[in-house]
Structures are given as structure tokens and as C-alpha cells.
Amino acid sequence: MTRQILWRLVNLVPLLFVISLLVFFISQAGPADPIKDVLSQKMSAEQIEQIRQAYGLDQTAWSQYLHWLRDMFTNGGGISLSVRSPVSGIVYPAFLNTLILGAATTVVTVVLGVLIGFAAGIRHGRPADRAAMLFVQIGSNLPIYWFGLIIIWLTAVRWNWLPAGGMHDLRGDGGFGDLLLHLIAPAFAASLVSMLIVARFVRAAVIESAQSDYIRTYRSQGFGRAAILGKHIGRNILPPIVNTTGLTVGSVITGVVFVETIFSWPGLGSVLLNAIAGSDYPVIQSGILLVAVVFVVVNLITDVLLDLLNPRLRHA
């Protein structure tokens, strides 16, 4: 197992390399030209050509790629093409913000999802089950555009409980409490999507587990409901929880783009969107590689945990 983990980590290197190649050539293949965006509409062809040269965009794709690769190691990812600023300064802070929102969202998703799924599962078939599932079903299918705005309008404008967006109060001290306050609404809104999936999987696992022979054994020994639910069913539904949690991290990181827009969260979403739209490949590259590392690590942790959680798979 330890070897397997190390091996996976070693594999990360070629994987990231492949990703960077793919990303690079896909962003090259697109119609977009880092120079030909908004600015270019107000420039002549010669002017554009001049800038292209200045940015080294007249070179072959390969040499551009190699340049980028070199920058990656020597220069923190190089200089953004569209805003001519070090990529690290653009991508890392945004990435960190996305991670913060992503982590908060994951926590909300998993905690609520597991609680709801568990509560529904143990009341399988009863009104409480239906109600709980209906709640998450509605929640996860509320279009975020619509629901996010409603949340903002109610909590920020109408009742003035929560901030209307952003990461901290620009008038405040930017402390941790302030950050938490700003996290509530976007994390809740973003969590709704995956919450249903977590809840449904947990519920299914609880139901299945509750009907299993080994739970019957515990029941036959007179274990109380709480003990059975908490320890034994709880333990046996861990795999789906771990698995869906891993996936939640994934969908959260990629899915926050829209949440970030609505809640003005200064995350990677809009940075990437901008960069992609403008073929700003040094930024795209660094952003996607960071995301890729998160995914690979999360998937690795998920896989390892799943194997550890299943005694049968430990030596498989």
C-alpha cells in the first residue's frame, strides 16, 4: 500500500506533463489569440503583429511550449500574456481562495449530505425519509443562478444578515470571523448540488447495510439502535461517503465558477475563464496544473482510503 501511494505520487509527474501538453495545444488550437481580444478590436494588424512579436507569440508552438516549461521551473510560471504580470501572482492567490471556498463547500456538503442521508436511510420508507430526500432533491436542483441571487437578496439586502458577496468586508479588518461570515452563503449555495448525491448514496448504503446479515447479527445480540447505527452501519457506509466526498471536492473545484461569479468570490474560476477566453496559456497552464494536483491528490486519498476501509482490498 505504501508503495502504491508512492508510485501514484511519482506518476503525478508524467501526468502533469501530459496535462500541460494537452492544455497547451488545446489552447493553441482554439481561435483565440492572446492579443486578439478586447484590445485588438481597437488596433490595426501591424500593431497586433508588433505585440505578438514582443510577446514571443510569433514563434512556433513548440518553442512557446518549451519557453513556458522553462518559465515554470525558473520563473514561477512566467508572465501572463494578457496582463503582463507574473503568473504566480495571478494564479496562486485565486487558487487559494478557490480552495477556501471549495473546502468550506465540501464540509457543508458532506456534513449535511451525510446527516440527511443517514436520517433518511434509517427512516427508510417513512414520511421523514421522503421529506428529507425531497429537501435535498429540491435543494440540488434549484438553479444556482436563480437561487444564489435569491439568497443574496434575502440575506444581504432584505434582512442584512450576511454580506452580499466577496471574501471579506472591505471596510473591516479581514479577520477569520469575517471570512467565515462571507463563506456561509456561497458555501451553502455551492454545496446544494452535490449534497443530493452524497445524501442519496449514504441513504442507499444505510438501507443496504441495515438489511444485511451482519447487522442482523448485532441486532440478535441486543445491541441498541444507537450503537448499531453509529458504529456498525456508520462504519460500513464510510466507503460511499469517502467516495462521494472525493467527487464533491472535484465538482466543487470545477463548479465554483458560477458560484464565484454570483458571490463575487475572487477565485480561480474567473481567472481561468478570462485566461481561456484570451488564450493566456501561461495562466491557463498554471491554473489547470494546480487544479490537477488537487484532483490527483484527492483521488489518491480517496482510493487509498477506500482500500483501507475495505479489508478485502487491502492486499488486492
Binding site: 506518476n11 501530459v18 496535462i19 494537452l22 492544455v23 488545446i26 489552447s27 488550437a29 482554439g30 481561435p31 483565440a32 430526500m133 432533491q137 429540491i138 440540488s140 436542483n141 434549484l142 438553479p143 444556482i144 443562478y145 436563480w146 435569491i150 437578496w153 443530493l196 448525491i197 442519496r200 448514496f201 442507499a204 443496504e208 466507503p239 467516495n243 462521494t244 472525493g246 467527487l247 472535484g250 465538482s251 470545477t254 465558477v257 458560477f258 481561468l272 475563464l273 481561456i276 477566453a277 491557463i284 489547470i288 496544473l289 487544479v291 490537477a292 488537487v294 484532483f295 490527483v296 483521488n299 480517496t302 482510493d303 477506500l306 482500500d307 475495505n310 478485502r312 482490498l313 488486492a316
Partner: protein, 284 residues
């Protein structure tokens, strides 16, 4: 041989099981109604869904002649609502179905293939995960005309890694079970084991995930449309109506966005219910 307790004569049919599940039935009814409405929209809609009237912009819900009001172009919200399910339904169902099929196959393969193949496959999935759907979407849009095809492609691309990992994780657990060994000893080829033996044990997860995805993707495709990739205006589409209606959501015309939101919600719920029923049928 003495008679054992007589086996039940009338086998419970799949249909019977399905019908017994009231939620599933409700889901089916809702879907049938929605599909019916979408198909019959040209006869049902009181107005041309695309014809705006600058003189009656943003009429409130309940206005004469416009039961659900009008949008910012003065188009009849009800008519647009009736038409707007077409694209959503097709795109969401087709893409989710495709993603389920592909993801399931990949996940099964990942779980059962040899260490090396599985490693490579799952790393490729990692890679797909890391690849932002948006990038793919934009690249696609550059090559082909926007439309349902692009949307479907994008959604499939986005959903496949998730389905794959769900299936992979569950299939790996199944891999260790005796029935798989038994099937192998009964001469089943690996593909046959995956598809006919293991898959039925994963149906529950796949169906849960699949039906959860439908609603999510109706909304997601709306976002893609906003990036310029999907159903183009003025054609009514719930997702688009929602995005456009959001502009006037809190400024006095909540209906424009809320009706499509409710429609999406209803369809998503119907799929969820249907999925639960389906699971009971496939997985008694």
C-alpha cells in the same frame, strides 16, 4: 422428490414493482406530461414564443392575455415555458445517458483490468477531472457551431469522470466477492463478468447518480448557453430563460425566472423519483 413449498406462481413483474412505487409513478406521470406539453407546444402555446412586443415588456404574472406575464422582450412567458423544455429534456437525458454508459464501462474496466491498465486508465480519468469543462467547451465551440450537439458533448465530457469513479470504487469492492470468482469459474469472459454479473450490483449507484445528474445538467447546460455554447436566443430554453430572467428577478418581475426554475425543478424531481423506481425494478 417431495414437493417443496410451491414456488409463487405469479412472478412479480417488473412493471408491477414499478407501479407499486408511488413516487416512481408520479415521476413518470410528470415526465410524460412534460414531454407531452413540449411536443404539443405549438398547439398549446397561446403566443409565438419568440415574438416579442416592445409595447408589453415585463407584464406581471396574471396579465390579460399573458397568464404568466411577459419577459424583457415582451414575449409570453407561458408560451416560452411550454416550448422551453424541448432542448433541456433532450440534452439532459441524452448526455446523461451517454455519460452513464461511457463512465460505467470505463469504471468497470478500471476496477477489473490489470494493475497497469487500470492505473493508466484511472490516471487518464484524473486528467479528465482536472481538465476544466469550460476549456473543452470553448474549444468545441471554436470548431463546431454551437448547439445541442456541443452541449451534449460538453456535458458528457464533464460527467464521465465522475461516473467512472463512482463505478470504479464500487466495482472494486465487488471484484473481491465470491460470485465474481464463481462467474469466472463458469467460463464468463471478463467483459461478460463486468456487464452481466457486476453491473447489476452497481445498478443502484448508477441510477442514483444518473438521475441526480439530469437536473444538475439542465441547469449546467443553461450556464454553458450563457457562455455562448448552447441553445441560442431567442429560442426558448428553460435554462436560458432562467439566466435571462435573473436580471429582473428582484426588480419586480420574479416570474420570468421563477417559472422556468420551477419547471426545471419539477423535471429534475421527476427524474429522481423515476430513478428510485427504476432502481427498485432493476434491483429488487
Amino acid at each position: 422428490m417431495t414437493a417443496v413449498i410451491a414456488p409463487p406462481r405469479l412472478r412479480r413483474s417488473a412493471v408491477a414493482r414499478f407501479v407499486r412505487n408511488r413516487e416512481a409513478l408520479l415521476g413518470l406521470v410528470v415526465l410524460v406530461v412534460v414531454i407531452g406539453i413540449s411536443v404539443l407546444a405549438p398547439w398549446l402555446a397561446p403566443h409565438d414564443p419568440n415574438a416579442g412586443d416592445p409595447e408589453s415588456v415585463l407584464l406581471p404574472t396574471g396579465s390579460a392575455g399573458h397568464l404568466l406575464g411577459t419577459d424583457d422582450q415582451g414575449r409570453d412567458v407561458l408560451s416560452r415555458l411550454l416550448y422551453g423544455g424541448r432542448g433541456a429534456l433532450v440534452v439532459a437525458t441524452v448526455s446523461v445517458a451517454a455519460a452513464l454508459v461511457i463512465g460505467t464501462l470505463l469504471g468497470l474496466t478500471g476496477a477489473f483490468a490489470g494493475r497497469r491498465t487500470s492505473g493508466v486508465l484511472m490516471r487518464v480519468i484524473d486528467l479528465l477531472f482536472a481538465f476544466p469543462v469550460i476549456l473543452v467547451a470553448l474549444s468545441l465551440a471554436a470548431i463546431v457551431q454551437p448547439g445541442p450537439g456541443v452541449l451534449i458533448g460538453t456535458v458528457v465530457f464533464g460527467a464521465v469522470p465522475y461516473v467512472t469513479r463512482i463505478v470504479y470504487a464500487e466495482a472494486k469492492i465487488e471484484r473481491g466477492k465470491d460470485y465474481v470468482e464463481a462467474a469466472r469459474s463458469l467460463g464468463a469472459s471478463e467483459p461478460a463478468i463486468l456487464l452481466t454479473e457486476v453491473l447489476p450490483n452497481l445498478v443502484s449507484s448508477v441510477v442514483i447518480y444518473g438521475t441526480s445528474l439530469v437536473g444538475i445538467n439542465i441547469v449546467f447546460t443553461a450556464s454553458l448557453s450563457a457562455l455562448g455554447l448552447g441553445i441560442q436566443p431567442p429560442n426558448p430554453d428553460w435554462g436560458r430563460m432562467l439566466a435571462e430572467g435573473a436580471k429582473v428577478l428582484v426588480t419586480g418581475s420574479p416570474g420570468v425566472a421563477t417559472f422556468p426554475a420551477v419547471a426545471i425543478l419539477l423535471v429534475a424531481l421527476a427524474f429522481n423519483w423515476l430513478g428510485d423506481g427504476l432502481r427498485d425494478v432493476l434491483n429488487p
